[in-house]
């Protein structure tokens, strides 16, 4: 257990727990109270937590297995689309065209029946499973081909980018049956609860926080396991690991698939809180931004990735609201600064400061590297 929850993980989970308990309480307080949180902020914070899950997912495969995926946004969006499809079905006959069988955009396109791949999405459990299964299956197939032919490093990054770009183009097409350019939106409720009700928002927020904690623990469990050690070996010396008899591709495919499913989970929680999913989520730039969250927080630290996502997204919200022109400058500078001067991210910086304050360690006692 102590291997699973070290100091950093413990602190983060404790903070997350406190926030998760306090936010619902604060939001039910009287509006006049100084501590009250307006209801509209809750989905926003839920959105940040979704990004944190996404960052943890990427850190698992980039930080520990050295697979720099520039297409994690695609898995995120696919998970989002799966839940979005279910939410679309839940609208039922309350859409603009009041068609009980077809979503609005299909009526608008003049379609007469539901495409086969929409079957089953009426049923929530099916959609929920699909939100994990579709990204997972795509990652498995993609990874199986890629890792078996030893595509790695930069080449892998480029083809994952091509993958999300291809999906971006595909989902823009109306003929695909996913709402084209506009995506899926106008959701009303989930499992019968209205999405605009404060209680639903709080429930989703708490659920997201739990999911984040779960993802962190799962990722940690993977990395401290024996398989996790092999993954680190793959990251640091792929050929050597192979020569020692490990099937590198199996480990890589495994971690890539798990990571993609986490990203899908993040997307699935994201869509009901944000209320829209459109092809823009597939944009390659989005996927690259995830990388900077992880890099800023500290690659290969899991907790750091989550913190990095929260910090960057919070700064982004603030900057785009107050100095919209500055945001891209700041993000661009962040990329450069992190890469040049903070190779271990924020957590690395904290670690460095902590070590500096302490007296030099006794050379006789073994210090962790």
């Amino acid at each position: 257990m102590s291997k699973l929850i070290d100091l950093r993980m413990g602190l983060f989970l404790a903070a997350l727990f406190i926030v998760t308990v306090l936010v619902p309480i604060a939001s039910t307080l009287d509006q006049g109270s100084a501590l009250s949180i307006p209801s509209y902020l809750i989905p926003l914070m839920g959105k940040y937590l979704c990004y944190a899950i996404l960052a943890v997912a990427l850190d698992l495969c980039w930080g520990y297995a050295g697979i720099l995926s520039l297409g994690h946004g695609a898995f995120f969006a696919l998970g989002g689309y799966a839940i979005g499809m279910h939410l679309m079905r839940e609208i039922g006959a309350r859409g603009v065209y009041a068609n009980p069988d077809l979503p609005d955009f299909m009526v608008f396109l003049g379609w007469n029946e539901l495409p086969w791949f929409w079957y089953g999405f009426d049923w929530f459990p099916f959609a929920a499973v699909m939100a994990l299964l579709v990204p997972g299956a795509l990652a498995f197939v993609f990874g199986w081909f890629a890792f078996r032919s030893r595509v790695s490093g930069v080449y892998l990054s480029i083809i994952t980018q091509a993958l999300t770009f291809a999906l971006l183009l595909a989902f823009f097409r109306n003929e695909m049956g996913f709402g084209g350019n506009n995506g899926l939106t106008d959701f009303r409720d989930v499992l019968g609860f209205s999405l605009s009700a404060p209680s639903t928002r709080i429930a989703l927020f708490v659920l997201t926080a739990i999911a984040l904690a779960a993802c962190l623990l799962i990722a940690k469990a993977i990395t401290v396991s024996k398989a996790g050690k092999v993954l680190v070996a793959v990251r640091d010396a792929e050929s050597r690991t192979r020569f020692m008899g490990y099937r590198v591709e199996n480990y890589s495919v495994f971690v890539f698939t798990v990571s993609a499913m986490m990203a899908g989970l993040a997307g699935a929680l994201y869509v009901p809180q944000v209320g829209i999913i459109n092809p823009g989520e597939f944009a390659p730039a989005n996927s690259i931004e995830i990388v900077v969250w992880v890099a800023l927080g500290g690659r290969g630290t899991l907790v750091g990735a989550a913190i990095g996502a929260l910090v960057v997204v919070a700064v982004e919200s603030w900057l785009t609201a107050n100095f919209p022109d500055l945001w891209l400058f700041a993000l661009g500078a962040l990329f450069i600064i992190v890469v040049l001067w903070m190779p271990n991210g924020l957590l690395g910086l904290v670690e460095k400061l902590r070590l500096r304050r302490k007296p030099a360690p006794d050379p006789n006692t073994e210090t962790p590297a």
């Binding site: 720099l68 993609f142 081909f145 890629a146 078996r148 032919s149 030893r150 595509v151 490093g153 930069v154 080449y155 990054s157 480029i158 083809i159 980018q161 091509a162 993958l163 770009f165 291809a166 183009l169 595909a170 823009f172 097409r173 390659p284 730039a285 690259i288 990388v291 900077v292 890099a295 022109d325 945001w327 891209l328 400058f329 993000l331 661009g332 500078a333 962040l334 990329f335 450069i336 992190v338 890469v339 040049l340 190779p343």
Partner: protein, 536 residues
């Protein structure tokens, strides 16, 4: 109902076939008759006016067609009205005498309706067939081909006899043949006409002969069907040629965008995600050069691209050197970190350009000498495409020669193959790195100049090319310039051949999927580098 147009036709024919009878009335008399009577009366007068053969008649008919021919209320004079609606001015329709301002209600328009307009056009067509200006003669012949009118047959015949310019006579011959088909000539004559038409361009054959597919005469119908089928075959063949050409020109664009990357990524192994933005800077350099020329020396606008090419190369190359010295230099051997840092650079460049020039598209003009098109067989070739193909091949071979034969190219290859050995031999590796990166960036700038001619110059210009260019380089084989050429051209051509049946977007998706699968199969591209250096 049917009788009226028929009568008008007869009148027109009579008017043309009996020039003596028609010329009994002079143009002056005829023109004064225009305002009176019904549209049919007017049509008869128009035919007679055309039959006078008077050179002044054309202007009158043209004004009538445009609704600019009016009658002055005070003295019944026929005038051509110009100027503005508020302050119309007039000139005498026949003498061209300037009548000054007319006053708003001083004249009455001579009205025309659609069938009268048709009559007027035919009449004008007949007149312009003999116009002294060759361009107008050609236009008249082409108009006659598009809408063959039996009454023009003799006029066409006469025009063909008199014509001295071959290309106009060809057009007239076609029009003549089309008119024969429309007439009630005998089958043999019509078969000859079909034979004449089947030698024309496929589009002409189809548009002219389609109406006669169901001709009553079986021999004629068969000949028409044969001719159309032959034309369609020819067109399909040329359609493939057209696809090939479009593909090559798209390939040239890809080549231009990717070739700079082939240097930075292929030769140096640096993932430069800011490459697209360097292309964009090149395009904006072109914009600035054109702006400066427009304001200071508009007469040199035709030279703007020639001036922009070296400037873009130097400016973007300098930006590239700055990026290399400032950032990339610290990251050699860490490709993923380089990728992130250069992505940061690309965001900054994008936003900088957006702040300075605004987020909207900027207008970059095409010099006159580059616009226009020419006809090659059944396909239209536009000059900008030709220019881009030539330009990108020039850049490619220029780069190839630089790498192979110049001292700098030799040093570049030495440094990339064995850095330590090169340093030992006295090559300043840092300087070579900077120059190599600068060269790649400068070529991106050149690509920007070319792309400004065919794409929107906006801060997002680069983003649309970056993924494509990386795929081209990876597909072709990293470190191999010939591979880049082959990859760009084959992807361009494949894209254009997929487009007709898959659509532009789906075609692109298929290409992406193909490349993804291809890289799985052959991770080192089409033409992998051999030897120890290639072991990653």
């Amino acid at each position: 109902m049917l009788l009226r147009p028929f009568l008008r036709l007869v009148a027109l024919c009579l008017a043309m076939l009996t020039p003596l009878a028609a010329s009994a009335q002079t143009l002056e008399e005829l023109v004064t008759q225009l305002p009176a009577g019904s549209y049919d009366d007017r049509a008869a007068v128009v035919a007679e006016i055309a039959a006078t053969g008077d050179p002044r008649a054309l202007a009158v008919l043209e004004a009538l067609l445009e609704g600019e021919l009016e009658q002055r209320n005070s003295d019944g004079r026929i005038v051509i009205v110009g100027g503005t609606r508020r302050a119309p001015t007039g000139t005498d329709a026949l003498t061209g005498e300037d009548l000054g301002e007319l006053g708003r209600r001083a004249t009455e328009r001579i009205r025309v309706n659609n069938s009268l307009r048709r009559t007027i056009r035919t009449a004008m067509g007949v007149m312009t067939l003999r116009d002294p200006d060759p361009a107008r003669r050609l236009a008249a012949a082409e108009a006659a081909l598009r809408s063959p009118a039996v009454e023009q047959l003799d006029a066409l015949d006469a025009a063909m006899q008199a014509e001295e310019l071959d290309y106009i006579r060809e057009a007239q011959t076609l029009a003549h043949a089309a008119t024969i088909l429309a007439s009630d000539a005998d089958t043999d004559t019509k078969l000859d006409a079909v034979a004449v038409i089947s030698g024309a361009s496929a589009l002409t054959v189809q548009s002219t002969l389609n109406a006669y597919r169901a001709a009553e005469d079986p021999a004629l119908a068969a000949a028409v069907a044969d001719a159309i089928e032959a034309a369609e075959r020819r067109q399909a063949l040329w359609g493939q040629a057209q696809n090939l050409w479009f593909g090559l020109s798209l390939g040239s664009v890809l080549l231009l965008a990717a070739i700079g990357l082939a240097i930075t990524f292929g030769v140096m192994g640096v993932i430069n995600l800011a490459h697209g933005e360097l292309v964009m800077l090149g395009a904006y350099t072109t914009f600035l050069v054109q702006e400066t020329i427009r304001t200071h020396a508009p007469e040199y606008f035709g030279w703007s691209l020639a001036i922009a090419v070296p400037l873009a190369f130097l400016f973007v190359g300098a930006v590239g050197v700055a990026i290399e010295r400032g950032i990339v230099r610290h990251l050699y051997g860490r490709p993923l970190e380089t990728l992130l840092a250069t992505w940061g650079v690309s965001l900054i460049l994008q936003q900088a350009v957006r702040s300075v020039f605004g987020p909207t598209n900027r207008e970059v003009g095409t010099p006159d000498w580059m616009s226009g098109a020419f006809q090659l067989g059944e396909m239209t070739v536009t000059w900008p495409r030709v220019a881009i193909v030539i330009f990108s091949l020039t850049v490619f071979f220029g780069l190839l020669l630089t790498m192979r034969y110049s001292a700098m190219g030799l040093q570049m290859r030495a440094v990339t193959q064995n850095r330590a050995m090169a340093a030992n031999l006295g090559i300043r590796t840092g300087r070579v790195d900077a120059l190599t990166f600068g060269l790649g960036a400068g070529i991106a700038g050149l690509a920007g100049v070319a792309l400004s001619q065919i794409d929107n110059v906006s801060p997002n210009l680069g983003q649309s090319y970056i993924i494509d260019s990386f795929l081209v380089v990876v597909f072709g084989g990293v470190g191999n310039l010939w591979g880049t050429l082959a990859a760009a051209m084959s992807l361009g051509v494949a894209n254009k051949f997929l487009e007709p049946w898959a659509g532009a977007v789906l075609g692109k998706i298929l290409i992406l999927i193909f490349i993804i699968l291809f890289i799985q199969k052959r991770p080192r591209g089409l033409f992998p580098q051999r030897g120890r250096a290639a072991e990653g």
